[in-house]
């Protein structure tokens, strides 16, 4: 049925929908198509090659390396930044002095562009003149090469990411905390519940909708945010700190292999879609919404 009402509704949706299709859905479809094609050079016509690109991908050790890196990167940054965000939110939500200053302090990393953050941390992490190693030098310890040592380069990136993300997530938790009625906490206190019990039984469950939202965003960010790699490590040394999206960028614009880059992109899109679906359908049922 295409009634007049429907037509009007579609017309109203049209502007947003055309942008969405032009810049999201159409490129997505083109990317998927491209991942099944190949061409000898930029000028040669591309031809359909089936799953050949995917076979290359399965045999590509760097692909598996960046997947592994991304896994550890997500695991290292997401829970830590969420936990920190909750702690900071609870802190600045309490009745202490100077809460607005604290809130501002916690939020500052968020308002900085990732490139700026990376440049600041580049100064922290530099081997000889860097802040960390100078401080360590004061107490007589020779600091490591934070970004150059293959064993710790990825961890160094994680620390910076947590620093950047926690303040952003804190804002969501703070907003959620302020919608909770203080009566609930008064009631729980009167019933003799300890601070930890109140957090575990009341505060945390009531923050679950926020946690789900933040969790999805944090995981997506773990895949999406790679600006700092351009400044800090460029994925090195020897791909030890390389992440999927940066690898896609390298493949497409440094190695100029847009067909293989499309293949990698499809894998990344599928992974993210799967994560979002699992989170929404599995966690959703266990969360109380008001």
């Amino acid at each position: 049925m295409f009634s007049r009402f429907n037509l009007k509704a579609w017309l109203l949706l049209l502007p947003a929908l055309s942008f969405l299709i032009a810049f999201t859905h159409w490129p997505t479809l083109k990317t998927i198509w491209r991942s099944f094609t190949w061409a000898k050079s930029d000028v040669a016509p591309s031809q359909f090659v089936g799953v050949e690109n995917y076979q290359i991908l399965v045999d590509d050790p760097i692909f598996w390396k960046v997947i592994e890196n991304n896994f550890w990167y997500a695991l290292g940054t997401v829970p830590t930044s969420i936990a920190l965000a909750i702690i900071m939110a609870l802190w600045v939500n309490s009745k202490i002095h100077c809460t607005s200053l604290l809130r501002l302090a916690f939020f500052t990393p968020t308002i900085l562009p990732m490139i700026t953050v990376a440049n600041i941390w580049l100064f922290f992490y530099s081997p000889n003149i860097g802040l960390f190693n100078q401080l360590l030098g004061l107490v007589g310890i020779e600091g490591p090469n934070w970004l150059g040592d293959p064993d710790i380069a990825l961890s160094s990136l994680m620390v910076m990411t947590v620093w950047k993300e926690a303040g952003f997530f804190m804002i969501f938790y703070l907003a959620a905390l302020q919608t909770l009625s203080p009566d609930l906490f008064d009631a729980a206190k009167l019933e003799g519940a300890s601070t930890w019990r109140i957090f575990r039984k009341i505060t945390f469950p009531l923050l679950m909708p926020t946690t789900l939202f933040v969790l999805i965003n944090a995981i997506l960010n773990a895949f999406k945010l790679v600006d700092h790699l351009f400044i800090l490590t460029k994925g090195g040394p020897n791909n030890e700190s390389n992440l999927l999206l940066y690898y896609i960028y390298e493949t497409a614009f440094s190695f100029l292999d847009s067909y293989y880059a499309a293949t990698l992109t499809v894998v990344m899109l599928a992974t993210l879609a799967l994560i979002a679906l699992v989170q929404i359908f599995v966690l959703d049922r266990r969360i109380h919404y008001r």
Binding site: D183, L184, A187, A188, K189, L190, E191, G192, A193, R197
Partner: protein
């Protein structure tokens, strides 16, 4: 049992509660009554331990509890907003405190069963508060307070979010429960009808201070101050004259008669069982002096109609200052 001795609470220059003292006896229902902003809720919070008094002491069963945390006082409280935990089932809400206080599982079950029967929540134990009506939420809050078997139960305007009919029902029910279980209750309300009909004794507060502490009947028959006289009773007591000759007479004690004081009708307000007649008793040419008269039944007097009113001198009230 509970002894409140001269507690005060100040916010900056503003004194919200000023040297409040009263006692609650075992099994007694005491209402803290007063207009909004008189400091009654703050007083209750100080007893609960949610606010600290700036001075004074609170004693429970001879033990000084002024410095104890809310949990250590082992009191129960019913909040105006009910303060039910929205993510927990009714059952979990009721036994939340028992779990926190590490009461044994068997004991939890036993107490839950008995309290559920008392307040009639049997069918709703597995529901979340969001699925319940206002009245049912009220019962859950009540059950949570009863199940604790606390020495003293605090209630902060527990009925003010209910509609009028339900409020009347719950009033009777809470009072019946309190008497049956022998609970000691402090009940904060701004509704004089609630206080008068439920309480053994009323602590009437105004502007952070106590106006009068008395049983409901004495508060009505023997008000010590003009504030008390005008706060208790509806419509409020008429105050006629000024200075030493000032006297109070309740609208229900004024009769329309064939002799007595002349009065000109201003308006009539019909309430069903009676009519409230507003009349001017000022002499001709003087300022208006309005009195309200409660006239039984239906009477529609014309404006400016001249009436004669009288009352028994035994019903007159005099105030010391």
């Amino acid at each position: 049992m509970l002894k409140v001795e001269g507690i005060s609470r100040r916010y900056g220059d503003l004194t919200v509660v000023d040297k409040l003292s009263f006692t609650v006896n075992e099994g007694e229902f005491v209402a803290l009554l007063g207009p909004s902003g008189c400091g009654k809720s703050t007083s209750l919070k100080m007893i609960a331990g949610l606010e600290m008094p700036d001075e004074g002491a609170i004693e429970l069963d001879g033990r000084d509890i002024t410095q104890l945390s809310p949990g250590e006082r082992k009191l129960a409280m019913v909040f105006q907003s009910y303060a039910l935990f929205p993510h927990l089932k009714v059952e979990e809400n009721i036994i939340f405190g028992l779990q926190a206080r590490k009461v044994s599982k068997d004991e939890q079950k036993r107490r839950l069963d008995s309290v559920v029967e008392l307040v009639g929540l049997g069918d709703h134990l597995q529901k979340k508060p969001g699925q319940l009506s206002g009245g049912q939420c009220q019962r859950v809050a009540l059950a949570r307070a009863i199940v604790a078997q606390a020495k003293l139960c605090l209630m902060d305007e527990p009925l003010s979010n209910l509609d009028a009919k339900l409020r009347n029902e719950m009033r009777t029910e809470i009072r019946a429960l309190q008497q049956r279980l022998g609970m000691s209750v402090i009940y904060v309300t701004h509704d004089q009808v609630e206080a008068m009909s439920m309480a053994d004794r009323i602590v009437l507060m105004n502007d952070g201070k106590i106006e009068q502490i008395d049983v409901p009947k004495a508060l009505y028959n023997n008000p010590q101050t003009i504030f008390t006289a005008q706060f208790i009773g509806s419509p409020p007591m008429n105050i006629i004259g000024s200075g030493k000759n000032r006297l109070g007479i309740r609208p229900e004690h004024i009769e329309i008669s064939d002799k007595g004081m002349p009065a000109n009708v201003v308006s009539c307000d019909y309430h069903g069982a009676d009519t409230i007649v507003l009349a001017d008793v000022g002499a001709a040419g003087e300022d208006q002096k309005l009195v309200k008269i409660r006239y039984p039944g239906h009477a529609m007097f014309e404006a400016q109609q001249r009436l004669l009113i009288r009352w028994d001198s035994g019903n007159e009230h005099r105030f010391p200052n």
